[in-house]
């Protein structure tokens, strides 16, 4: 039985291909986030996207108002070495007390843990961190994870630290890197709330595009992509924006609306194409 939390193939067919991704659209079975291992933006964006999907999840009839299910974060030993392990005081407050951390010595063990996690009914969402493009994570393994996540309705976000964009069956594939944060109101010299430059380069139901994501008062917001200087938002406007319906207020304007990938191209051609598109 396929739960209605995700789009089925029939739903996907009816979705207009022109509909752009925006926050609050809900979870997909498996998404991949490519990020550098020398920054925390991969895990940060993964948590932000997963939390956004989790908040906008439709509540079933008779379900508890407060979701008490746990959150599983699987890391390989190499990923811990590369980017550290979760630090509870820095986690988003909603998941601090419910995080279950799994450390796997090998990539195969990590994939096993991920699959077991999406099969567990007491888990809200799963985050995995894997370094590079291991041999164990081929298309078959990726497809296996996607099917398991789809079948049990538990979204899985896989962070690929320093990985190459090889074949995968993930429903959404992102490339994320840190972006300069908005200046805080009281100390303009301090780093602000986290912001990321996120490129959706492969998605099943959305056209690709680039967004500047950031978290504002515990909510994922998108801003205009590719803006070097971010104007601080006055308090009154920020409050106003919080009150209105997010679906209306979000001004998602992807700058690279027409970016695309060549399926049959060689890696060199692909790299040249990306360079031509001005990718950072």
């Amino acid at each position: 039985m396929i739960p209605d939390a995700f789009d089925t193939a029939a739903d996907l067919a009816s979705v207009s291909q022109a509909e752009r991704w925006r926050p609050g659209l809900g979870a997909v079975a498996q998404s991949e986030i490519f990020a550098s291992g020398c920054e925390g933006s991969g895990a940060g964006a993964a948590l932000a996207l997963a939390l956004d999907a989790w908040r906008s999840r439709p509540r079933a009839e008779g379900e508890e108002v407060e979701d008490r299910r746990g959150v599983v974060w699987v890391q390989t030993r190499a990923a811990v070495k590369r980017g550290g392990r979760p630090f509870r005081p820095g986690l988003p407050p909603e998941i601090r007390h419910r995080l279950i951390h799994v450390i796997a010595e090998k990539d195969e063990d990590a994939l096993f843990a991920l699959e077991e996690a999406v099969r567990c009914r007491d888990i809200a969402f799963v985050i995995g961190e894997i370094v590079g493009s291991p041999r164990a994570l081929d298309f078959t393994a990726s497809r296996r994870l996607t099917l398991a996540a789809e079948r049990h309705g538990i979204p899985l976000t896989l962070v690929r630290l320093d990985g190459t964009r090889d074949l995968s069956s993930a429903r959404q594939r992102w490339a994320v890197q840190a972006a300069p944060s908005a200046r805080p109101q009281w100390n303009r010299q301090a780093p602000g709330v986290p912001a990321w430059q996120a490129e959706l380069f492969r998605a099943r139901s959305h056209p690709p595009g680039t967004w500047r994501l950031s978290e504002d008062a515990g909510r994922l917001v998108v801003e205009r992509g590719n803006t070097p200087e971010i104007r601080p938002i006055p308090i009154r406007r920020a409050r106003h924006r919080n009150l209105v319906n997010p679906k209306i207020s979000v001004r998602a304007e992807p700058v690279e609306a027409l970016s695309f990938t060549l399926v049959g191209a060689t890696p060199e051609e692909r790299a040249a194409l990306r360079q031509a598109q001005g990718e950072r």
């Binding site: 020398c38 925390g40 005081p89 951390h101 450390i103 079948r151 049990h152 309705g153």
Partner: protein
């Protein structure tokens, strides 16, 4: 009533005062003081210096034989004395039988070698019409069997032993109840059901102490009641008793007058309870627990299969394991329990035994789950010439009530429970793989987070301060970085980490975290933490270790410890 937790236990101590002689007489088939028992007779043990008297009958004691003296000395007083070798092994076996028999007065009983028994009579006295009648029943039963005993009931085993050996006969040590306090102004301290018996030995008459009014909250009422007993009532070794006698401490009450510190210093190297009067005193008052080994152990669920034909192949072993798991689930269901730890023993034909242990995160009665978890552990089993006996034992079981089959919508998706998920991961990845971060009381970031098993309840902790912006991820070891900064303690401007130069665009800090002097060496330096963001937006948490001129090393070093989202 006003009974506190500690005194709610009731222990019956039975001292078979002349156990060896009584046993010898029963073997001879004569009654007390008649037949062979009419002659002076002693039981002797052979020692390096010759035979020594272990116990003596009444006629021999009247003739001057004393327990512990040499047989030759006793013979000079009474040449006609008869010496019979003692039988300590037979005595112990008989005592064990008596211990099992004594379970008629309580749910469990323990041996108290060489000549005593302990029975837990908590909350069973009413079945006999009260504790006094229970004691009378005990006396009657042992009299019928021909054993002379002294018995006492007290809240702890130590107190019951002391009263049985040195208190009035049939004494009951009960906490003062409020009604009796009102009625008598004091309390019925140590009640003797034969209070006016003229032959009541050795002291400790019921005392009327005024301290009973505020007593029931702690053990001081017991201390007050037992203060007149001799120090030998503490079950101490002979040399310790000698030391105490030389110190002039004769009664339990006098131990308190010396001061606990002084006694502790005197006996600081004595770890065994029998050599340390303070430990014995605490056991007597119930301040420290005293483990007692019941004579009849608790049954653990155990199922086994003896195989007609030794098995050598994995598929057959899996079948046997499935059968065993089903048996075990039935067994556990009958007991209303779920297994937390399972031991699977495999007896091979050539005499080798392989034991695989499985610990579960939550009590379970799911046969398929057990089979699946054991299946992963059986991959490296060497069957040798075959396995002839497979045994499954639930060495740790917890109560698990029978519940209705899961009919919720969640179960329809065939999702597993969290406990099953943790079990599977732990079986494959090791016991330390699945954990949960918890806060610890420390300001140092690497110490402020600990890890505990995933299903343990969260310990209480202080919430961290709201204005502390901590990084999402923390490196296991802070990595050294080269930093360009305004000396001595200015803001960092540029740093190199993992071979890459980062220009720092924004910085907040410092936040100073002092070293924990009570834990670290005196040379540990303070840390100034900075939240930084480089020109491409990457956010880090770095610190300067030390400050120039703090006298704890050379120039300060810089480390990168955390990564912000």
């Amino acid at each position: 009533m006003g009974r506190e937790q500690g005194s709610s236990r009731r222990i019956l101590s039975i001292w078979l005062a002349a156990f060896a002689i009584d046993r010898w007489r029963l073997g001879e088939g004569c009654t007390r003081g008649e037949g062979a028992d009419a002659q002076p007779l002693v039981l002797i043990t052979e020692t390096a210096h010759g035979p020594r008297i272990q116990s003596a009958n009444i006629a021999a004691r009247n003739a001057g034989a004393r327990i512990g003296t040499m047989l030759a000395d006793a013979r000079t007083l009474c040449p006609s004395i008869v010496a019979v070798p003692a039988d300590p092994a037979g005595d112990l076996a008989e005592l064990e039988k008596l211990a099992a028999w004594a379970m008629r007065w309580g749910p469990w009983s323990a041996l108290d070698p060489p000549d005593g028994l302990l029975v837990d009579v908590t909350a069973v006295a009413h079945l006999f019409g009260g504790e006094a009648k229970l004691l009378a029943d005990v006396h009657h039963a042992f009299d019928t069997r021909g054993f002379a005993i002294r018995a006492a009931i007290a809240p702890t085993a130590g107190a019951a032993w002391a009263l049985a050996h040195y208190g009035p006969d049939r004494s009951i040590l009960a906490p003062p109840s409020p009604s009796s306090l009102r009625a008598t102004g004091g309390s019925a301290a140590i009640q003797s059901s034969e209070r006016n018996r003229p032959g009541s030995p050795r002291g400790c008459a019921p005392r009327d102490d005024g301290g009973g009014r505020d007593a029931p909250r702690d053990a001081s009422w017991m201390e007050a009641r037992l203060s007149d007993l001799p120090v030998a009532a503490l079950r101490l070794d002979d040399d310790v008793l000698t030391v105490l006698r030389r110190l002039g401490l004769k009664r339990l009450g006098e131990l308190g007058t010396v001061g606990r510190d002084a006694l502790h210093r005197r006996f600081r190297n004595r770890k065994s309870p029998a050599a340390n009067p303070l430990v014995r005193m605490d056991q007597l008052l119930g301040r420290v627990p005293e483990p007692l080994l019941p004579v009849v152990p608790r049954q653990v669920p155990l199922v086994q299969r003896r195989l007609m034909e030794p098995i050598r192949h994995r598929a057959l072993l899996d079948t046997v394991l499935g059968d065993l798991a089903a048996d075990m689930v039935r067994e556990l269901e009958g007991a209303g329990q779920g297994a937390r730890r399972l031991d699977l023993g495999l007896w091979r034909v050539d005499g080798e035994v392989a034991v695989k242990t499985l610990e579960l995160a939550a009590a379970t009665r799911d046969a398929a789950h057990i089979v699946r978890l054991f299946g992963e552990k059986l991959d490296d089993i060497d069957a040798g010439f075959g396995i002839e006996l497979v045994r499954l034992r639930a060495s740790w079981a917890e109560p698990l009530p029978a519940n209705q089959a899961d009919i919720e919508a969640a179960a329809q998706r065939h999702g597993t429970s969290l406990a099953a998920f943790v079990d599977r991961l732990t079986t494959r990845l090791g016991p330390k793989a699945v954990r949960r971060p918890v806060l610890k009381g420390s300001h140092l970031p690497e110490r402020s987070q600990g890890w505990q098993p995933a299903l343990d309840p969260e310990p209480p902790s202080q919430e961290s301060l709201r204005f502390h912006a901590r990084p999402l991820k923390l490196l296991d070891r802070a990595e050294a970085i080269a930093v360009l900064y305004a000396t001595p303690d200015g803001l960092p401007q540029r740093f190199r980490w993992r071979g890459e130069v980062h220009e720092i665009a924004r910085v907040e800090g410092p936040e100073r975290i002092a070293p924990e002097w009570w834990r670290e060496r005196g040379t540990a330096r303070l840390r100034d933490y900075y939240r930084i963001e480089d020109d491409t937006g990457r956010r880090y948490w770095i610190y300067r270790y030390g400050i120039a001129g703090d006298g704890r090393g050379g120039a300060p070093e810089w480390f990168l410890q955390g990564l912000y989202a």
